[in-house]
Subunit: 349 residues, 2 copies
C-alpha cells in the first residue's frame, strides 16, 4: 500500500461506498469508493452545494488548500463545498488501493463520464442533493465540470471550467500520450507490475520533465518565476520540485487518469456533435482558460465558449500557465475569486 495517499497526507477525507459502478467501457468497479472532503454545511433546502472535482495527480487536499477558505469565493461559511477525488487518483477507487483482479494493471479504463455518473449517485443518494449552485474544476476538473453541465443540465445551476476543455484536442491527446510513454517505457515499469513507485523513478522523472516543459510557460521561465519560487535553476526546479511532486505517486494511478484525460469529450453524449452537446448546457457558465496555458489553450477554450448558450469568456492572466492551478500566482487566484464571486451572485435557471 502506497502511504502517499493516506489521511495523513491528504486528509481529512471520507471514503463513501457508492456500490457497483458500471463503466462506459464495459467493465465494472464492484464496490466503488469515492474519497470525499466536505467544507461547510448544507442548508435546509440543500441549495448551497458546490461540487469540486479534481485534476490529474491532484487530490481534495490541493483544492482545499488553494481554492477554499473563509473570505474566499469558495467560503465554507456560505457553501457546502464537496470535493470529490476522481476515480484512479489514489484516494477514490484506484489501481493502488483496489484488490483482486482490479489491482494494479488490472484496474479498468475509466472515463470522465464514469466519474460524473459516480458523483451524481453520490450527491443524490448519499447527500440527497438535487441541484448544485456551482460545479467548478481545473484541468481534468474542468473536463468533469463540462460533462456535468452537459449530462445534467437542470442539476447544474452554474459552472466554472478552469484551464480545461469540453472535448480534448488531438494535440492534448498527444501530450498525454508522451506522459504515458515516459512511464511505460521505463523497463522497471514491467507492464504495471513494478514493486513500488520508487522502482519506476526514472520513468516518473521523465514524466515530470515533460510536465515541466508543457505545464508552465516560456514566459514563466523567461521571467525566472522558477527562481522566484525558490529554485536556483531549471535543473534544480526539475530535479527537486517537479520530480518530487510526482515521485511518490503510483504509476498505474497516473495511467488511469491519463487515459481518462485523453478521451474527455462531452460530444459522446450527442453522437459526436460538440455544438449539440454544449448547446444543452443550462448552467450559467464561465469559461476560464489561463492566458499562458500551452495545452488547454485560450483559443481552444474560446472556440468552445462560443457554443455554450449562457456563458461568458473569463480568461485568467498568468504567465505561470497551466500549473498556475497550483496556486503559485496569488494575483491569478485573486482574479479567479473575483470571477467566481460574480458567478455565484448571478441569477440562474
Amino acid at each position: 500500500m502506497n502511504n502517499y495517499y493516506s489521511q495523513e497526507h491528504h486528509g481529512p477525507f471520507e471514503l463513501i461506498n457508492i456500490g457497483a459502478l458500471q463503466l462506459e467501457e464495459g467493465s465494472c468497479i464492484p464496490e466503488c469508493q469515492l474519497a470525499v472532503a466536505v467544507h461547510g454545511t448544507l442548508n435546509a433546502d440543500k441549495t448551497n452545494a458546490i461540487l469540486v472535482p479534481t485534476w490529474y495527480s491532484g487530490t481534495s487536499k490541493a483544492m482545499e488548500q488553494i481554492y477554499i477558505g473563509e473570505g474566499r469565493a469558495l467560503d465554507p461559511a456560505k457553501y457546502c463545498i464537496i470535493v470529490v477525488n476522481q476515480i484512479g487518483n489514489g484516494l477514490s477507487s484506484s489501481a493502488s488501493n483496489t484488490g483482486g483482479s482490479l489491482a494494479g494493471p488490472g484496474f479498468p479504463n475509466v472515463r470522465i463520464g464514469d466519474d460524473v455518473s459516480a458523483q451524481h449517485t453520490l450527491l443524490t443518494e448519499y447527500f440527497g442533493i438535487e441541484s448544485l449552485a456551482l460545479v467548478l474544476g481545473g484541468s481534468m476538473g474542468a473536463q468533469q465540470t463540462y460533462e456535468w453541465a452537459v449530462r445534467y443540465p437542470d442539476f447544474v445551476k452554474r459552472a466554472a471550467a478552469i484551464a480545461g476543455t469540453a472535448r480534448n484536442s488531438e494535440h492534448d491527446f498527444l501530450f498525454s500520450e508522451i506522459l504515458i510513454d515516459a512511464i511505460t517505457t521505463d523497463p522497471a515499469f514491467r507492464a504495471g507490475l513494478y514493486g513500488s513507485s520508487a522502482a519506476v523513478a526514472a520513468g516518473l522523472k521523465r514524466h515530470a520533465k515533460v510536465w515541466t516543459l508543457m505545464g508552465w510557460s516560456t514566459a514563466f521561465f523567461r521571467a525566472e518565476r522558477h527562481k522566484a519560487l525558490g529554485f536556483e535553476s531549471m535543473q534544480v526546479f526539475v530535479d527537486s520540485f517537479m520530480t518530487n511532486y510526482f515521485a511518490a505517486m503510483d504509476p498505474n494511478n497516473l495511467l488511469t487518469m491519463a487515459w481518462k484525460w485523453q478521451r474527455g469529450d462531452v460530444s459522446r453524449n450527442t453522437g459526436g456533435d460538440l455544438a449539440a452537446a454544449l448547446g444543452r448546457i443550462r448552467a450559467k457558465t464561465y469559461v476560464m482558460p489561463i492566458s499562458h496555458d500551452q495545452f488547454f489553450t485560450v483559443d481552444d477554450c474560446l472556440s468552445e465558449q462560443k457554443m455554450i448558450p449562457n456563458s461568458e469568456f473569463r480568461p485568467l492572466q498568468s504567465i505561470d500557465g497551466h500549473l498556475g492551478l497550483f496556486g503559485t500566482d496569488t494575483q491569478m487566484l485573486n482574479q479567479l475569486d473575483a470571477h467566481l464571486a460574480e458567478l455565484l451572485s448571478s441569477p440562474t435557471h
Copy 2:
C-alpha cells in the same frame, strides 16, 4: 555507413576539407569536412555571397528546396548562395561518417561557435570571401546566424535570424533534453553503440512524438492543418510523416546537434553579457520569429531584438509554428521572401 546521408538523397554537395578544427570544448576534429552546396556564382569583387547554415536534422537539400530559387529572394541568378551543413548533421563531419576514435559515440561535443569558426575558415580560405551580403538561417541556423553577426561584425553586412534565438532559453534547453532522453533511454541505443538507426526505432519514434508536440502548434492541429497536409489523423501524422522523417537519421548525429542546440549562446563571446554581445552586431538584422512557435517564441526573440542596434522585428505569421520552416505554409514563405528582398536591398555598413 548510413545511406540516408548520401549524394543521392541530399546532393549535390561538395565535401571540403578545412583541416584540423580545434573545438571550444578542448578536443579536435583532425580533418574537418564541411558539406557545401553552392547556388549561383560569386561576382568579381566577391560581394554577393549569402551564407545559409542548417538547422537540427536538416541538410543543404532542405534549404535549397524550400528557400532558394529563381525569382525568390534567394535567387541564384543574383547571389552566390553557399549552404553549409552544420557539423554533426551527417553530411559534414559527424558521428556517422568519421572513423577511428571519433566514430559514433566518440564524436566530440561541438558548439555553435565551432561551426561558425569552421565556416569562417571555409569562406576566407577556400572561397576567398571577405564579406557576406547576408547570413540567414532558421532554428539552429538562426543560432549560427547570430553567432556570425556577433563574432564577425564587419564581415556580416546583413543578417536574418528566423525562428531562433541568440541565447538559448532554459525552457528550450529542457525541450532539447527531452528529445535527447527519448533516444538515449531506448535500451537499444546502447550508449551510442547501436547497430543501425532501425535498431533505435522506438526511441526515434518517441523523439518524433515530442517534435510533433512542440514543433507545430495547437492552432495548427485545431485548424486540422495536418489533415490538409494529407494525414487523416494525428496518429497517422505521427506514425507516418513525423516518424518517417527522423527514422533514417543517425541517433548519434541527432545527439551531437541537440547538445550544440542546447548551448547556443552568443554571450559566451562577452563573458555572459548578452546585451554586450548583441550590441556588437553591425549587420542590418531582421529578427524573424514565427508567430506560433512554441519554443523559439515571439517574445523570446523580441527581447533579443531590442538589444541589437541596427535591427528590425519582422515576425512571420503562421499557425504552422516552428516547423513552418519546412515550407508547409506557402503564405509564410511569401512573407519571408518579401522581408528578405527588402533586407537585401537595404544599405549596410
